[in-house]
Amino acid sequence: MVRRVLAIVAVIVTALLLQSTVFGQLRLLGVRPELLFLVTILVAFIEGPSEGAIVGFVSGLAQDMLLNEPKGILALTLTLLGYTIGMLRQFIVSPSPLLPTILVGAGTMGGVAFYVSVSFLLGNFNQPATTAVRVAVLAGAYNAVLTPLLFPLLRRLFEGSRSRKVVRF
């Protein structure tokens, strides 16, 4: 359990560091990937809705602390995103290797759209709608491109940190 918590914390901190340093320079048409959206969706895909919601909440809150926006909006967004992806995964039984990529791309676009909507309703979003749509689509595409690289790593990390079942007679 402790090992799993430490693994999740390390993944979240690493994602935040990479998003603010390396991916600040490596942009797709001016847009950087949303790495915590990617982490949340993949965790929900691998572990289910509960873990997806928890990791989403913690990731969102971690990124909220580094933003100048009101804290909590991203935590809300990623909690619901993690739960939704985890629930969808239970009903989708396709063995296709493209499934994680498609879920990440679509999930990121939907998550960014939800985040923008909530920010707008709270009076905290002053960008044109075209900017929001462009960021959602490009961030989703960028996340989808990164999925084949990160999915095997995250799956190995979470399956390796899973506690072994003990059978007692």
Binding site: F57, G60, N126
Partner: protein, 294 residues
């Protein structure tokens, strides 16, 4: 039995997390910039800054190399252009030195040195903002180095600065800078040669716009745009006068016929900022939590 209660426990968990998120949003709105959540945010930024600096120190040479490779075809032309500009700038700097000496005498007479010739604190850019909707950078200097809120930040040298933005949050060892191109940024500016003043506002990935210009103003393009120092109720503005913002790129009619909008080509390339100068124009003893004066 464990299987039957599991979906219900998951739903309860999600409801609890959503409720917690809503409570956090409400607390942050009520607390504002002095509340506990804002303080927690500043602590998180202070903790992340050294890690960001370490990562940037490792990745910057690699990023610069890859960027140089990608831009190789255009480097020769840019080199020729820059050589011509240096020759022109050498001539201008000789005249500038004479004018600077005259200005220094006048400043001494009027006691204006601190405002017009502020101390410059060099800083390294260690990270950019984590959001796709904010245009900010983090630098590796904070209150321990004399940085305070609302201090202007420039690139280049202190004698010929180019505007980058202003400090919007500061901790002991780091500071966050809102860039000129951020959609919340606004700078009072004047066009060189025509003495038309207006307000430069950021537009994110698009070029900033200078608002409030008379449609009758004759602009040909490439005129320099500088900050315009001003005072309100005896309090100086954020930016000292005479900092280069950029050049006029194009003129377009505004939605009303009383003014025209002027697109500005920034003098700073915000995608390749590595080093900046913070102009210590404000001599307050600011800690990380202090609000700027109204």
């Amino acid at each position: 039995m464990a299987t039957r209660t599991r979906p219900r426990s998951t739903r309860l968990l999600v409801v609890a997390l959503v409720s917690a998120s809503l409570v956090i949003i409400t607390l942050d709105y009520r607390g504002g910039s002095t509340g506990p959540l804002a303080a927690a945010g500043r602590s998180a930024k202070a903790g992340m800054a050294p890690l960001q600096e370490a990562v940037t120190d490792v990745t910057r040479p690699i990023g610069n190399f890859l960027s140089g490779l990608a831009n190789l075809p255009t480097l020769a032309e840019e080199n020729r252009r820059l050589t011509e500009e240096v020759a022109t700038a050498r001539t201008d700097s000789e005249r500038f030195a004479f004018l600077q000496a005259q200005l220094q005498q006048l400043e001494d007479l009027l006691g204006l040195r601190e405002q017009l010739d502020p101390e410059a604190v060099p800083a390294v850019v260690v990270a950019s903002g984590v959001s796709n909707f904010d245009w900010t950078i983090t630098i590796n200097k904070g209150t321990d180095h004399g940085i305070a809120l609302e201090m202007p930040v420039v690139a280049g040298v202190a004698g010929s600065p180019r505007l980058v933005g202003k400090v919007i949050e500061v901790t002991k060892l780091s500071a966050e800078v809102e860039l000129l191109i951020d959609r919340d940024a606004a700078v009072a500016a004047v066009i060189e040669g025509v003495d038309e003043a207006g307000l430069v506002v950021g537009r994110g990935d698009e070029e900033p716009v200078l608002l409030g210009i008379d449609p009758e103003t004759d602009l040909v393009g490439d005129e320099n745009v500088f900050t315009q120092g001003y005072e309100v109720s005896g309090q100086p503005g954020v930016y000292p006068p005479g900092i280069l913002i950029g050049q006029v790129a194009r003129v377009s009619p505004a939605s009303n016929s009383l003014q025209t909008d002027v697109a500005i080509r920034p003098a700073v390339d915000f995608s390749t900022l590595d080093y900046v100068l913070v102009l210590a124009t404000r001599s307050r003893d600011a800690g990380a939590d202090e609000e700027p004066a109204a």
